[in-house]
């Protein structure tokens, strides 16, 4: 019975491919069991997490050269990336520009490797708090090469009964550049 399966046939005819696939299955099983991801071992949840109530949500309001730009009009992936980098910057800013994964990093490496290696790895894996603060400039040039100023705000909005959004309040995340 098992000999008729794909893996059974591989074991008989192509042991190298069999070994590769078994290794992949073991790696995938391990990360799934641990609830983590180690590229290329990924978990495909596709919105399987319990979605919290989202009657009130936050949206991004970007101004380039003083003009409001609708990021949802960008091509799909550029839209997603603008949103995710903006939100990541806002999260880092809220954390005083210190990387939010530094605790996990410490759990994995602190006191387990030499100080030199620890600092080397930290410089490669964790966000540099000075570099992070250049994000508004980077975003400005990424979105428009010759832009001279950019402003980013987060607006809290609430859904009303007809599914439309009402603005509640606004919070500035960054403002950068000259006015000329």
């Amino acid at each position: 019975m098992l000999k008729q399966t794909f893996l059974g046939q591989l074991l008989k005819n192509d042991k190298i491919t069999f070994a590769l696939i078994v290794l992949f299955i073991l790696g995938q099983t391990f990360v799934t069991w641990r609830g983590v991801e180690w590229f290329p071992f990924l978990n495909y949840g596709m919105y399987s997490g319990k979605a919290p109530k989202a009657d009130t949500v936050e949206v991004i309001a970007l101004k380039l050269n003083g003009m409001q730009i609708d990021i949802s009009r960008f091509p799909h992936m550029q839209f997603a990336i603008t949103q995710s980098t903006f939100n990541w910057y806002a999260a880092l800013k809220q954390n005083n520009f210190s990387d939010t994964i530094s605790k996990v990093f410490d759990t994995r490496f602190k006191d387990r490797i030499s100080d030199n290696n620890y600092h080397y790895l930290a410089s490669k894996i964790l966000n540099d708090s000075v570099k992070v603060q250049t994000y508004p400039t980077w975003l400005m040039h990424y979105l428009q090469n010759d832009a001279i100023n950019i402003e980013g705000n987060i607006i809290a909005v609430a859904y009303n009964k007809s599914g439309e959004l009402d603005s509640l309040n606004s919070k500035q995340i960054f403002s950068y550049g000259s006015n000329k």
């Binding site: 290329p40 949840g45 109530k53 980077w138």
Partner: protein, 278 residues
Amino acid sequence: MEAINNTVFEKKKRYFFVGVLMLLCYYVYNYILLTQFCLNASPALMFPSIDNGYWLVLATGVFYFFANNLAAAISFDILFFLLPILILFLPYKRWLNILFLTVCFLYAIFINTIAAHHFHLFLAMPVLAFAFCFTGKRFENIWRAIRYYTLFIFVSAALWKLFRGSIFEPNQMLNILHAQHAQFLYEQPNAIHAKFIRWLITHSTFSNLLIYFAALLQILFVIGFFTSKIDTYLLAMLLSFVAVNYCVMQIFPPEIFLFALTLVPQSFWQKGTMNSTL
């Protein structure tokens, strides 16, 4: 035997690498090539998350070499375009395929690190490129394994929903829609698509049923583990899923079409090739 296999191999190679080139053009349009990210300044943020695979690549310093050096980023992208063309037009050379595998593997890590979002389906290109590092029976075996991986993607998505209990949550889909479309509805409230989304939001009974429909569609891919005779239907289901996903969630992952190639029935690949009569 090798010649016969290679005929089907050549056809699969053509479809895959032409698909890759189309995908790369889509990336240019989306402004997500490495050069486009690094054109005026090196990216300010990194998001390796807590993924050891990303940490390992970042620790080597290779990411910084390309991200902080425009000439290197341009060279990387040129190679990214050039390799599929060379592979398509030159006789089979394994080292070209291995080089392409390396480039698209690194691209997936680099862009996801810069993007602050890990696009899972970026894995499609390196996974399929890996298959083309081999020929003959081994290629076919790996291709078949990737077919199982494609099925796994959908089946596991259904199982996650089931075991995490989200499918049983009241208003799960409504909450997802609220979060997913806020930016779009805020900026383009009068768009036709926005009217459809609002209809879904205000008809929560219907929209909440969609999550059951999605989970059902995903779990049905399990049939593919037992037979390849219905691959045409599975392919149709995959394409339907992509279409519905776009309409409801405004998510369009073009890389899924590369995985979809593994669900194309063998009869299609054999048609017009040397083993068409087999």
